[in-house]
Amino acid sequence: MLDLGGYGPSILEGAVLTVEAALVGLAVAIVLGLLGAIAKLSASPALRLLAGAYTTIVRGVPDLVLMLLVFFGGQMLVNDLAARLELGHLDVDPFTAGVSTLGFIYGAYMAETFRGAILAVPRGQLEAARAFGMSPVLVLRRVLIPQMLRHALPGLGNNWLVLLKATALLSVIGLDDMVRKAALAAGATRRPFTFYLAVALVFLALTTVSTLLLAAAERRARRGEALPA
C-alpha cells in the first residue's frame, strides 16, 4: 500500500517505543492521579491547596512547554545535584524526561477524573468497611478503588487517548519514537508525506484498538448494573 522503501521495520521499532512511553506515562499518571484525587478530597487544607495548585497549573500550560521545561530544566537540576554530590556527569535521557513529564501532566487530568469517580462511591460503603474493622488502606484497596474505577473508566479512556497522541511531542526532545524515525526516513528518501502518513496511520490503528478495548472494558465494568428496561 505505502512504499516505505525498507524503512518499515525502523518505523515499527519507533512505534514500539511510542507505545512503551505511553504505557509507562499512563502508569505514572494513574499513580499521581490517585494521589492527587485523595489529596483533593482530604481533610487537610494544605494537601487540598497543593493538589489544587497542581491540577490548575498543569492544565493551564501546553504539554510541549512542560516537556521542554522538564527536559532542559531537569537536566540542569540533575547537573547541579550531581556536582553538589560529586557524582560526575549524569544525563537525563529523553525517555525518562518524556515519560515522567507525560505522567506528571496527565496525572493532573487523572486527578480530576478520579476525584469525580471517588465521590460517586456511596459513603455508607466506606463507613461499613471501616465498621468491619478494615484498615484505611484495606478500605481503599478492597472497596473504594474497585468501585471507583468503574466510574473513572470513561474519563480515564479519554485521558489515555490524549496521552497516546501527546507522545508524538517526545520526538521534539529527541526521543527515538516513530515520529523521529519517520523524520529520518523522510530526510533520506525525500518522501516526507509518505512517512508521516504511515505514522499517522499507526497512531490511528492504536487509537482504534484503544477505543475498542475501552468500550469492552466499560461493558464489563457495567455488567453488575441493572439492564435498561
Binding site: 515520529v179 508521516y196 499517522a200
Partner: protein, 231 residues
C-alpha cells in the same frame, strides 16, 4: 534562582510570540468553526454518502497527533510535483500557512463532532412543533436547531478553545516564533530553561484563565433561562 533580567530583556520577544500565538489560535478557531457547522450537520445526515466522508475526515484528524498532521502538511506538501507547480505553493511553502491549515483542519474535525452531538440532542418535539407551524427545513435549522445547539455546545467548545491554544505550541517546532518559540530562543541563547519556559507558561496560563472566564460568562448569559429563579 530565577533571573528576572533575562525575562525583562526578552519581554518584546515574548510579546511578539504572544501575538503570534493569539492570532494563529483564534484565526484557526474561527475558520475551523465556519467549516465545522456544515460538517457537523453532514454528520447528522442519514445518507451514508454525506455522512461517511465527513466521518472519515473527523476520525482521521481526531485519531492522530496534531504534530504529525502539521508535519504531513509542512514537510509533506513539497513531495508532490503537482503541489509545487500549483499557485498554492507560495503559501504552502510557508510555515505560518501550514500551521494555520493544520490547526484549522484539526479544530474543524473536533468541533464538527461537538456540533453533531449538540444537534442530535435537540428535543424532537421542538422540531415537530416548528414543522407543524409550517416552517421550512432551512428555517427550522436556522431558528430552532442551531441556536439551541450552539448553546448546548458551549461548554465542550470552551474546552476545544483551550485545547487549540495549547496545541498551537507545536507551531514552534516548524520555526514559527510563537510563545513557545520565543521561549526556545531564550533558552538556547542563555541556557536558562526555567526563566525561558516558566515565562511562556505564565503567559499561557493567563490566556487559559481568560478564556475559561469568558466562556463561563457567556454560559451564564446563554443559559440564563436554565438557572433557578431566586425570589
Amino acid at each position: 534562582m530565577i533571573d528576572l533580567e533575562i525575562v525583562l530583556a526578552n519581554l518584546p520577544l515574548y510579546l511578539r510570540g504572544l501575538w503570534t500565538t493569539v492570532w494563529l489560535t483564534f484565526l484557526s478557531l474561527a475558520l475551523g468553526l465556519v467549516l465545522a457547522v456544515p460538517l457537523g450537520l453532514a454528520r447528522t445526515s442519514r445518507n451514508p454518502l454525506i455522512n461517511g466522508p465527513v466521518w472519515a475526515y473527523t476520525y482521521f484528524f481526531r485519531g492522530t497527533p496534531l504534530l504529525v498532521q502539521l508535519f504531513m502538511i509542512y514537510y509533506g506538501a513539497g513531495q508532490f510535483e503537482a503541489i509545487r507547480a500549483s499557485p498554492l505553493w507560495p503559501l504552502l511553502s510557508q510555515a505560518w500557512f501550514c500551521a494555520l491549515l493544520a490547526f484549522t483542519l484539526n479544530t474543524a474535525a473536533y468541533t464538527a463532532e461537538i456540533v453533531r452531538g449538540a444537534v442530535l440532542a435537540t428535543p424532537a418535539g421542538e422540531i415537530e412543533a416548528a414543522r407543524a407551524l409550517g416552517m421550512s427545513r432551512a428555517l427550522v435549522l436556522r431558528r430552532i436547531v442551531l441556536p439551541s445547539a450552539f448553546r448546548r455546545a458551549l461548554p465542550a467548545y470552551g474546552n476545544e478553545i483551550v485545547f487549540m491554544l495549547h496545541g498551537s505550541a507545536v507551531a514552534s517546532v516548524v520555526t514559527i516564533v510563537d510563545l513557545t518559540g520565543a521561549a526556545r530562543i531564550v533558552n538556547s541563547r542563555y541556557y536558562s530553561p526555567y526563566e525561558a519556559f516558566l515565562t511562556a507558561a505564565a503567559f499561557y496560563m493567563v490566556l487559559t484563565f481568560a478564556i475559561v472566564g469568558l466562556v463561563k460568562l457567556l454560559e451564564r448569559r446563554w443559559h440564563a433561562h436554565l438557572r433557578p429563579r431566586l425570589g
